[in-house]
Symmetry: C2
Subunit: 442 residues, 2 copies
Amino acid sequence: MTAPLPGARTDPDVVRAFARDESSLLDAGTPRAVVSPANVAEVREVMRWASAERVPVLVRGAGTGLSGGALAVAGCVVLSTDRLTAVRELDPNDRVAVVEAGVVNAALNEQARAFGLMWAPDPSSWATSTVGGNVSTNAGGLRCLRYGATRANVLGLEVVLADGRVLNTGGRTVKRSAGYDLTQLLVGSEGTLAVVTAVVAKLLPLPPPQVTALATFGSTVDAAAAATAVMRSGCTATLLELIDAATVAAVDAFRGTGFGESVGAVLVAQVDDVAATAGLLDGVLREHGAVDVMTTADEAEGRELLDVRRAAYPAMQRIGRVLVEDVAVPVSRLAELIAAAETAAADHGLLIATVAHAGDGNAHPLLVVPPGADGEQRAWAAADAVFAAAQRLGGTVSGEHGIGRLKKRWLAQEVGETSLDVQRGLKNVFDPLNILNPGAVL
Amino acid sequence: MTAPLPGARTDPDVVRAFARDESSLLDAGTPRAVVSPANVAEVREVMRWASAERVPVLVRGAGTGLSGGALAVAGCVVLSTDRLTAVRELDPNDRVAVVEAGVVNAALNEQARAFGLMWAPDPSSWATSTVGGNVSTNAGGLRCLRYGATRANVLGLEVVLADGRVLNTGGRTVKRSAGYDLTQLLVGSEGTLAVVTAVVAKLLPLPPPQVTALATFGSTVDAAAAATAVMRSGCTATLLELIDAATVAAVDAFRGTGFGESVGAVLVAQVDDVAATAGLLDGVLREHGAVDVMTTADEAEGRELLDVRRAAYPAMQRIGRVLVEDVAVPVSRLAELIAAAETAAADHGLLIATVAHAGDGNAHPLLVVPPGADGEQRAWAAADAVFAAAQRLGGTVSGEHGIGRLKKRWLAQEVGETSLDVQRGLKNVFDPLNILNPGAVL
């Protein structure tokens, strides 16, 4: 018989609501309870209880993850960060904020904006997803092309270890070479090593006014080559997004944009609105096969051009149920990756439209799950082919969404047995009882 | 009786030459041998031998380290990377180079420059120090203000584990969220976790032409406040260096620069030569207490202004034997840190001049070791006071030089027992026999 867990909610509706993230395919187990600790002391209490009782703990932010990193195992306790929402400190001079794990990305940005600053990580879910969730998956986004993914924007962490001890890592300095970088080890560990309770977030000055360019190409090969050229050119793009032909067609149908069938791919880029840079971008695009280039320094017009990219997901959702994938390759191999996705779509008889953070070689194939009993199976077979292609091209099965429970098999083949062996050893240092998100990642 | 180690050199002169780095204070032990493996297979052979014989191994790059990270323990084998010098690959489209650990920073930059690219980490030792050495200490430099320290510029590693297995971490993609980030754990681990044999280096486009500004201030307080303002302003400085009054006086004496006693501090900054940015920099400096501001877009003139900063170390070396320290604080606390160094100098009767990578809050107090038997002891007592001040101000005892053997005591008080406990656990996963640089860092 187990000891009572203070604050545990066991109402079946509550428990069900906290049992899964936004990933597809795998079912969640039924948690025994949900707890929402309001401070570090309460998190410690939960972990001491869980260690004593040997009960698995699943840390959950907003539940927007797509890789099954927040899928409950049966009988676990879900530790929700929904009450860890304090912005403990925001120091504009040091450009640092200390925020609790449950603070929503948008909320932190709103506070930072008042000082001319921003928290750079901008996953698509930024309006609802949490800073702690970003840390968990090392989330990226559009502008991480320029500012780096979450890991580049975290200076330190406050975490509670599996046994209930508090560990503070890193600190408030931008530079630090003092012992092993536990901060970096914890970023991207998907709740398997420790419970992140607070984040020392690096803030950056808001970017200056931007010039937005939208360029059409005859093919993804041309567009990807142009993206590679932009990245070599030194024009420091703030974002550089690619939309393939299938996406363009879906957006045309959804928004009436009228690109038409001759457009094989679109690139959307933003750079600082300074003559040298904007001119360089325009020149590079035109020299590298762009058919048409629209450029604007007007903010509203720029937003409209970028909306073509942002419309991709809703446009695809109108067609059917969409499985969002996440692979990354060296930037010069992006066209080959998209071609592999097209082949997989044909082989398995489904629609795959690909959008990509082209400057980082990070592609999101959007797979439309076909109707019928074997639809999901066919979608996953196609995804499997895309994963294999990413790895064959020197890439990875996750650029920014994480491994979770969905991609464990592919992680093993990507990193190899020696790496897995070391990673299991690290897991054991932090979580010898294997109670933190057991079965995820490794 | 131990088995023979192939390729071992035991000539006392050779052994002595490889026994230590450029740190002061601690004596090195006498290694039993030096080996210079020419490839990964030979490194594996050394590690298998060392594991079987339980012999400590000290990995050594160019030996330019300042924290005693490459000080031999008696009876160890020094594994020199001086024959691991192949640039295996340099791909300008992916902006990636795969280089062996012993490749000199300057050599990699020379090859990259032919493609309009660079390897950003630029420690002062860059002309002779190695890429592997940068990885070992997470080395920084002047321009890491803009491009990040070594850790931000490494995409993957090839390492040989203590037991001789090869581990490949990361890869050639800019983004990756696939399992624990072993690359980041290994960067900055100072040869205590594994032998780095090759580095997947992220290359960046060369910066555009720069505007250089040199501003004089009445005090370090004013100069540091201006540095903080520059960092908040969004003008994206490529470098931002501070020179305190003691350094200005030494440079005046050495180079005849004629700043004079009224100058309490100097800032040197570089930004991209675009009107918006250069104007912003000039304005921010003037609004924040600059007495005189000299600005130039001419490359040679810019180099002359920057030479004022570069002259600091040779200027101090003319005065006496210099101990270079390395501490970092949140940027708004820099003036307090420099004041603490001045107090320590007065308390212990020696000269301390401080130069700082001001934008990152990373200061290098240059301590002139007083003549006499107790000179070194007094210098270290003063350094101790500076370390304590850095920690009190929310900073660290190492911004970019590492902990090595010299700063272990201070690391313990900086990170605390829980962190040390976890770090010892990690060390044990990688090096259960404790043969890799034993006694360093932890």
